[in-house]
Symmetry: C2
Subunit: 307 residues, 2 copies
């Protein structure tokens, strides 16, 4: 009875209009775990790091309720490294450097202690790796959520289409939804993507919120208007962590509960961008999260009386 999170654990070096970070700890699985652990424990991780990955960061995640049995540590190799620079609008960025390192030949192994998996969160990784994890699970999880990106649509579309047929929820951003579907209208894009396998599609639009599509239904989650977006790195992963964390806590995979899960994901992402890297996430208290959820309620609450 647990949540498995698959994804990179890595180093990032980030430039934004507000400043520049040194090489700091990042990676999809890291952000997802920090975020999801506010709602559910344990968070069973599957990832790979090099000998350079700080042991204290692994310890901090353990303390937080992460289980690392599925995290391979390759002492003589280096962790995945990404470096990028954000533009003023913070929705677009240039990749300055990518060093695959340990991710280059990653073969995920699902420990036997993870076989009780009910909820599977496949963070952004090669679709072939995501597929390997699904195939190693002896029982189909209640819900499989997959995050991916345009890079995989360009270099591994066939693998991506294969894994899409095995997942329940797909998480992409608006430009990725357009690329995957070849449609500009997000409504048309959603209709096409929902025929590729997933029953639920979440389209993240950054500062413009997120959309959930399911059958003929659509739900619009706002983003909290922020004074400054300091560093958007990991916001999508943090969103995914809040989403799957809430679903795993409530064990309710209805459309109604997914709407709530998206609001929680949006609230978590709104914290993530307030500081560089995972820093803001590591400081969060339950009271912080509750306050922000109330802000989200106030943000969209209105009365309509038909006359």
């Amino acid at each position: 009875m647990s949540l498995i999170v698959v994804g990179s654990m890595a180093f990032d070096a980030i430039e934004t209009p507000f400043g520049k970070s040194d090489k700091i700890v990042g990676g999809a699985a890291t952000y997802i775990a920090w975020s999801a652990s506010n709602f559910t424990k344990p968070v069973k991780l599957i990832s790979v790091v090099g000998g350079d990955f700080p042991k204290e960061d692994l310890e901090a995640l353990k303390k937080r309720g992460a289980v690392l049995d599925g995290v391979q540590i390759k002492e003589n190799e280096k962790s995945f490294f990404w470096s990028g620079k954000y533009h003023m609008d913070m929705n677009t960025r240039d990749t300055l450097d990518t060093q695959l390192n340990v991710l280059g030949d990653f073969n995920p192994v699902v420990p036997s202690s993870y076989q009780d998996c009910e909820f599977l969160m496949l963070g952004n990784l090669a679709p072939g790796v995501q597929l390997q994890v699904i195939e190693q699970l002896k029982t189909k999880p209640k819900l499989i959520v997959l995050d991916t990106m345009n890079f995989w649509m360009d270099v591994a579309l066939d693998d991506l289409k294969k894994v899409l047929q095995k997942v329940d929820v797909l998480l992409v951003n608006d430009s990725e939804a357009r690329e995957l579907s070849n449609e500009f209208s997000l409504v048309r894009a959603a209709r096409k993507i929902l025929q590729m396998g997933p029953q639920y599609l979440i389209i993240k639009k950054g500062e413009h919120g997120a959309l959930l599509f399911h059958e003929e239904n659509v739900f619009y989650a706002p983003a909290l208007p922020l004074e400054d977006v300091f560093d958007p790195t990991g916001a999508g992963d943090t969103f995914a962590g809040g989403f799957i964390g809430h679903i795993a806590r409530t064990k309710d995979i209805s459309y109604e509960n997914m709407k709530t899960a998206i609001i929680i994901g949006s609230a978590m992402a709104s914290f993530c961008v307030e500081k560089f890297g995972t820093q803001r996430l590591t400081e969060l208290t339950k009271a912080d999260i509750d306050r922000r959820l109330i802000q989200f309620q106030e943000l969209v609450n209105f009365d309509i009386e038909l006359v």
Copy 2:
């Protein structure tokens, strides 16, 4: 006890990725009147047209509850004409031609029968003209709403700043809010603009919805995700019409009611873009509007239970 709407009544020629219109009737006051008249009557117009403006369009507006005593008809001159081409994203456009014609030396005259004005909607026009209307009113209306655009920030900023000090609600889009405030963050932009006069600021974000700022409060109205945006011309004016129409009907200028008014404005705008020009607005029934308002409720409705 009535609503005054000030704005252009004009011709547009529009190109979108979906097609091209001939010279069709448009103008801010036209769209606002078609939209507002679903909620309140009479709608007292102040505008100017040339002899070329179709009499049947004026008649249609009258039938709909518009009063035209404040519409000057200059039989020997030509109506304002605008021609533009929208890009694929429908949020940006190029102006191909602008012929001011009768708008070039427009001096609005407020008829004495309009002096009972409670609600004043100043559609996009030269700020000097907007100011003239305010100054002719013997009693300050309960609420003055002003729409403007970046063009006036470039060529008539001093006049704009003067009129801003006399209005309660300012309506602009996101790029206009950024230009007016010199701030990229919309939260910072709003804070600065709320110091220029208006107590309420509405920032329209097209397909990404609209934000209402008031003191330290913020409200996020979604846009309905649409399969196709056929022609965005007039969507902002239609939004303004729904907004002021609801306010004038309810006579309630509280923050809470403005949130509802923004949802109604958004619903009206979502119809406007479905066909070229005002066509969709002229066909609308109350049942259409009610159905769409229910869609808006469903679009953002969620439950949060703090645990």
